[in-house]
Each structure stands twice: as C-alpha cells, then as structure tokens.
Subunit: 430 residues, 2 copies
Amino acid sequence: MKKEISIGLLGLGVVGSGVIKIVEDHQEDLQHQLGCGVKVEKVLVRDMEKARKIAVDETLLTTNSADVLDNPNIDVIIEVMGGVDTAREYILTALKAKKHVVTANKDLIALHGPELEETARENGCDLFYEASVGGGIPLLRPLSDGLVSDRINQVMGIINGTTNYILTKMDKEGQSYEDALQKAQELGFAESDPTADVEGLDAARKMVILARLSFFTDVELDDVEVSGISTLALEDIEYGNKLNLTMKLIGFANRHDNKIEVSVQPTFLSKDHPLASVNDEFNAVYVSGEQVGETMFYGPGAGSLPTATAVMSDVVATIKNMLLGVNGKKFVKTRFEKQLAPAEERFGQFYLRLRVKDETGAFASISDLFNKLGISFERILQTPVDKGAAEIVVVTHKTSLANFQNAMEQLKDLHVIETVESSYRVEGDA
Amino acid sequence: MKKEISIGLLGLGVVGSGVIKIVEDHQEDLQHQLGCGVKVEKVLVRDMEKARKIAVDETLLTTNSADVLDNPNIDVIIEVMGGVDTAREYILTALKAKKHVVTANKDLIALHGPELEETARENGCDLFYEASVGGGIPLLRPLSDGLVSDRINQVMGIINGTTNYILTKMDKEGQSYEDALQKAQELGFAESDPTADVEGLDAARKMVILARLSFFTDVELDDVEVSGISTLALEDIEYGNKLNLTMKLIGFANRHDNKIEVSVQPTFLSKDHPLASVNDEFNAVYVSGEQVGETMFYGPGAGSLPTATAVMSDVVATIKNMLLGVNGKKFVKTRFEKQLAPAEERFGQFYLRLRVKDETGAFASISDLFNKLGISFERILQTPVDKGAAEIVVVTHKTSLANFQNAMEQLKDLHVIETVESSYRVEGDA
C-alpha cells in the first residue's frame, strides 16, 4: 500500500484554494481515515504570477497541463478549473491515463456526463462529482446510496444561491429585482454577468444531474424547460404573501408513470413546504420517494470550503476504492428509456394575475371560461387598481398544464381582460 | 458470485414488515443495483399465530432463533425486534457466525455499540445501523462520508417525532401538553407509556450515536444530560412566540477545544433557525462543520417504510461489500479520549421566567444581581399577572452555564422573587 496518495489539481480558484487548505489542515484526519497521507503534487494554473489568497509552494505550480495529466506520481486528478471544452479534454486525457477524477464542474457533467462516465468505466477509474450540485451539502451520494431501495418520484431543488438570495430580499424586504441583484453582486453572490444564474441555466444544469441520478435515464440539457426570475414583478411576490405563498426558483424532476418532467421555473410554494423557509444564499433539495416519503438536504450551495469539503469527500471515496481495488463502479447506470411527459400529463396548481376592466360580470366571464375547461379556483383575490380597472389573482385547483395553457390562450379573446400580467406554478397545499 | 443473497430477519413488527415489502416490491431494482437477487430466508417471530398486517409465506416464520442465527444459507441478519439483552445476544451470536448485521436498534447501539462493533471487526463482518437515528433520513453515512474531511463542531437534532408533534400542537394550536400528548397517542405517534419519548431518553440514545460518529470518542448514555418536556408550561411557549422563539426538544452534541457536551433539553430556537420550522412528527439533524458551515438533514424519523428504506440502504451497502470482499470496515473509529466540558466552559443564552412582587425596584434588584455576575439581558418582557405580582421574562446574552446556574442560585435569596417559574436554553440569534 502506498504511504501517500498524490493529487493533481486543475485550477487554483475559489474551490482549488479550499482543497489545498483542507489537505493541509486535515492531514492527520485524512491519515486516520485512510491509513495513508494525501499530498498535492502539482497544480495547473493559468498565470504563475497571479496574486493568490492562500500561500502555495511555488514549485507545485505549473502552466503546462502535461505536468499534471502525464505525471506518473499522480493518482487522482481534481478538476476545479471550470469551463467545458478544455476541462472535458483534460478529464478524458486523465481517465485514459488511468487516473481517477473528481470534479465540481456541473456544466461539464450536465453536457458530457455520460461520455465521461463511459470513459471512466472503460478505464476502471472513478469519476465523482458530489460538489457539482448543492456545493457542500452531502447530496448525490445520499440520494444514490441512502435511498437505494426506494423509488424517487420527485426532486425539487433550490439549487442556485444567487437567485435564492435575490428572491429572499424581494420577499422579506420588499426590494425590487434590480436592487436585490445589485446587492447580491456587491456581496459576491452574483457575477457581473448574472445571466446563467438569473435565467435558470445554472439550475437547469444541476437538475440534469439530479434527474439522471434519480430516474436512471439519460436526461439532457435540452430536455429541461427553463424560465428564470429576471422578469419577476414585486407585485406578484406581494400577492403571494397574501395567499400564504413564497416565491422560489425551483428545479423540478418529476416522474409519473415512468414519464418524466425536468424543469426550472419561478414557483409559488406554500409557506408550509419545507423548501419555503430556505432563505438567502442557502440551497436545499427536497426528495419525495415512494417509501421514505419526504426528505430534504439543506446547506451551503457554494463557497470555497463547503465546496472543497464535497470535493474531498469524493477524493476520500476514490482513495478508499483504490485501497480496496474497486474503482470504476459508478454512481448510477442508465436503465430506462427516456420518456418526457407531455403537457397533458403534467398536473399542478397555477397562480394567475389578470388586469381586467372593472365592469359588471367581468369576473363571471373569466370564471365561466375556466369552468368550461373543468378548472376550478382554490383562491381568488380581487383588488381595484385604478379607474375602471381591477386586478384579479386566482390560484387554481390541480389541473393539467395543457388545460391551463388552453385557458390562457382563450383568455386573450375575452374582452374584459386588459392584460395577463403573470402566471406561475404553485406547489404544496397552497 | 452468489445468484441470491439470503437475509434472516429478527422480528416482524412495523419495520420488519416494511423490509419484507421492499424486498418484494423492489426485487428488480435490487437485482440491478447488485447484480444478484435478495431473498428473505427466515423470519424469527414471537408468536406464529399472530395476525399480521402483511401476507408472509408461513414457511418462512420460526419461533426458534437458531433457525435464523445458525442457518448456513443466511448471509445477512436484520435485527428489528427491539429490546436490548436478547437482541445483543442474538447479534453477538450472528457476528461470531460470520454473518453481517444490520440493525435499527438505537437502544442497543447506544448501550452496547462499542462491544458490538469490536465483535464485528474481529469477525470481519459489517455492522450497520443507519436506521437507528432519524428513521428514513439518510444521515449517519452522509455524516461520516460526506463530511469526512471536515471537523464537526456541533450537531443539533430534533430526533424524537413524538415530542416534536406535541410541541408543534402546543406552539401552533395552543393545546396543553396533556391534550397534545393524548392526540399523539390517538394518532399512534406516542406510546401508551410515553415516558421514554417525553422525558428525552429516546433522544438521548440517538445523541450518543450521533456524538460518537461526529467526535470519534466513546460517548456513553451516562454522559448525556437529559431533560424532557413533560413539565413544560404553555405559558412559556406563548412567551417564546412573543420573543420570536420556538420551543423544540433539542439534542446537542457540541465540541469546543476538544471538550464535548452531549445533552437533550427543551430549547428555545430563534424562528430563523433552520430547525425551527421542522414541525409535527418530522425529524431533522443540523450539523455545523468547520468547513461546510451549516447543513441539515430532514425527513421522516419513524414509520414502517421510511425506516425499512434506511435498513435496506445498509443491506445494500453490506452486500456490495460482500461482492467486493471488503466487509468489516466500520463507520467510525474511536480516536480521542473523552473529555466532558464542565459548566464553566459551556456557553449559551438563557430564557428565564420569574414571578415577582409588583413593587418599586423589583426589576432593578434582579437586574443588579445579573449585572454583578456579568450577565446582561438581550430581551426583557414584563407583564402584570394579578394583584401585587408581575411576571418577568428575560433572555440573557451569551454566558457560561455555570454563571447562569450561579445567578439562579442567588435569585432564591432575593426577597422580590416569588417563584422562579422556568428557565430554558436559547439557540440561534434570538
């Protein structure tokens, strides 16, 4: 048995620095867990001269990827450089050189997970990515192992800290979207170009990974319906509060009769839902299984040390597998043909805000239209807004998405409707 | 490789029935995960004639423990019979016969865990007990593996569904303790003799297990300071609500400078604390790690299928280890000498309710006493209750338990105090 396992690090940003710190600070713990030491052998960086937050032995640094990928001393590669194409190429090279790989790269796994997993298996290597979803929260392994004998029917995730921070500020402090975004940027919770976060793309990538693990089928990014929070009006959040609903950006992975839906959308949650009280930059993933019922995993979705903790749990799992000689067993295998649920087979409750002419029979004509389609209302809120107009907010009982979309289409022809202001999904005993 | 792994079941109650159901319903999933079938070979029951909730092939049942424990076909024993002495004896027999053991028995693990683990190790067998804490919540494995490179400093758990149900009813619906307990008994959330639950003993046993796993030290049941909820007054819960505090029965495992505290006590949580919104019979365990920050695991703490799901996750882990030939690596090894933190080194905030004479200077004399001890107040609430008396509720700033106990002692001599009605620990930015 080796006395020391050597790691090669690709990238020395926020997460990479965290990994270096943990390996240093927890050397004794790691030795105890593994019976051998863990050592960072080489670190690929873009710029040797760049000022760094942590002190790193300069002889470890290199700008030449071959110093890491072709290094015969290195057993495990940690990819924390981000991006897709180069990271993919490096990881493929590493796996083919029989090096195990741990990555925190959700974009890469969402786009090229199946190819990379296949390459790992062919080469008898581990490929782990616990940190790719939910940062420091132990999540993918509990989902696969802890619920191994269960059948998961729904995963709902608050898996983007930026948008959750913004929505919390809007909801709790009445800030506008723009103000909350700016505050998030000042605090480092949002990037200067926040598109990937606020438009739901980051969450969509994570949902691809969660849906694959939960449903054993090859979900791709294109299968995910995505809408973000950038057009969200504070008025809707305020109406939601009156209706005991909290707005969250939710990633859904639902299975019904082996047909699946994967989506990311702003969603009104009942305030009693366990996800409704997940605030600020925190993440949480709610899982509903046939046997276990409901369970939830909560914690920091990002950050240097939390994410590095998840990376290191993968490194320890890999090293344990090395010591046991059992690498190359992957988290999950594809078992089912993918079948996406059509709108006719996707059921839910919906929130709808309409601006209507304030005239006799206005609400009755709307109510008639829904009634004919078999959609009934659970809650109704009507408020006069200005001369001659009123705002009507309704929450429907459960109906199919197709039926609701049909109603939305027919609403346009109703003369009492001035505008359809917004509509959102509603979850959890509204 | 075996085509089928055979299981022996000790006990066919709530959890045992769930195991039988999962093995039947998920045979295909298990085959896929393991590459081999799983079969229940024999079931030890107390009474062959007893009416059962599920249909079980009668030829599987036996009242003779040797039919299970000495059965050469059986590879894995699942102990779900409960109780301590007989269960211990059976498990020791099974381990010595080189059979792996999965148990949901918290009482047994809390009392005899180290002995059983040692026996398992000596015989190269697995001994897993994921279901012993938090029922269906994947918890012990994520705690050990997911946070493997972290240093856990605090575990706070709502790990008794009965008391959480009672406290939720008191808090949300203003029910008295007696009414809420009766309701819990009617719903099957509380036993006819509820002592072990309401006095905190059940939670204490689970905390022993969590503390051992978190701190790598041999915590014993006697090390746990326990107080329950049976003397809790509705008035305190109502005062708590006014102070933005929610009452929960919390199990604490705290580490500070390698000195630990393990306790179970009614505790006021800030309503912003992630545990504060864990309601009804649900369980949740909040973990604070040096690197990960705060994370929480939430779900059903009991129930036939949830608990059986956790049992089966252990069975699958055991079988995987069998297939890999790597059984007998335990969750956790003892590494540190146990040092219990004295009251002088245990810090917290405290809630205190006093009945005082309604006379000039009453509050000043109390305030003086605390001030002399260096204890300041964060919140104060004074209410006249009846002629000549008032109730004063204070929440202190952080101070040592010893200091607070000292203040409580000195209060008795203060002539303005009629009675010290209650005092509780306060957690989380009150």
